[in-house]
Symmetry: C2
Subunit: 114 residues, 2 copies
């Protein structure tokens, strides 16, 4: 007996957790801003802190998330950590999302269930 119900749905279910987690990487304003800012050029933690005006702790914590999810990677240079966007396609996702959102921005921001 193979798959009682729906095999493709089974597959989807397995991927869904990971994909949803991936998207939750961009689901926080500060994390989104970090990625969008790093789109331009790589930066140290301190530079990001100054650029975004958030606490060092906040930035480091969110960077940790983003690194886990593969959005950014870092290289150590002296006592500074330089972060950059890992994969150019991530910026494509951001661009696409901006276009889709453009039409119903007001609608989205008024959503209370999320």
């Amino acid at each position: 007996m193979s798959g009682t119900s729906n095999d493709s749905q089974e597959q989807l279910k397995i991927h869904a957790d990971i994909l949803a987690k991936f998207f939750s990487g961009l689901s926080h304003p500060i994390r989104y801003r970090i990625v969008a800012t790093l789109a331009e050029k790589e930066m140290t933690v301190n530079e990001i802190v100054n650029e975004l005006g958030c606490s060092q702790s906040q930035i480091s914590n969110h960077l940790a998330c983003l690194k886990w999810c593969g959005y950014v990677s870092s290289r150590q240079e002296g006592r500074s950590a330089y972060y950059q966007v890992t994969d150019k396609r991530i910026l494509d996702i951001l661009e696409l999302a901006k276009k889709v959102v453009a039409d119903n921005a007001e609608h989205i921001s008024s959503c209370t269930r999320m």
Copy 2:
């Protein structure tokens, strides 16, 4: 005197809330599965309930989120509500994300800070 600090960062800050909220639309496994399932064809709430094996309340609630954020739209037919993906570009985002994720799926799922 124009913008004391960074104007582009100001702009980014404004958009970030909306974009982050947009992405949080896909940041829940059930919502992700709904969108991915509707990618194939439009469906009624009941059909989604059966397909995903979740409660009607759960599905309706998540559909409400997705509708707010413009991911899906619905049309009423008799006493059924048919839902479909609003914008084809949303599916492009899903496809892109799948590709980016493919490389570091294990990494993502082990992330504990999110």
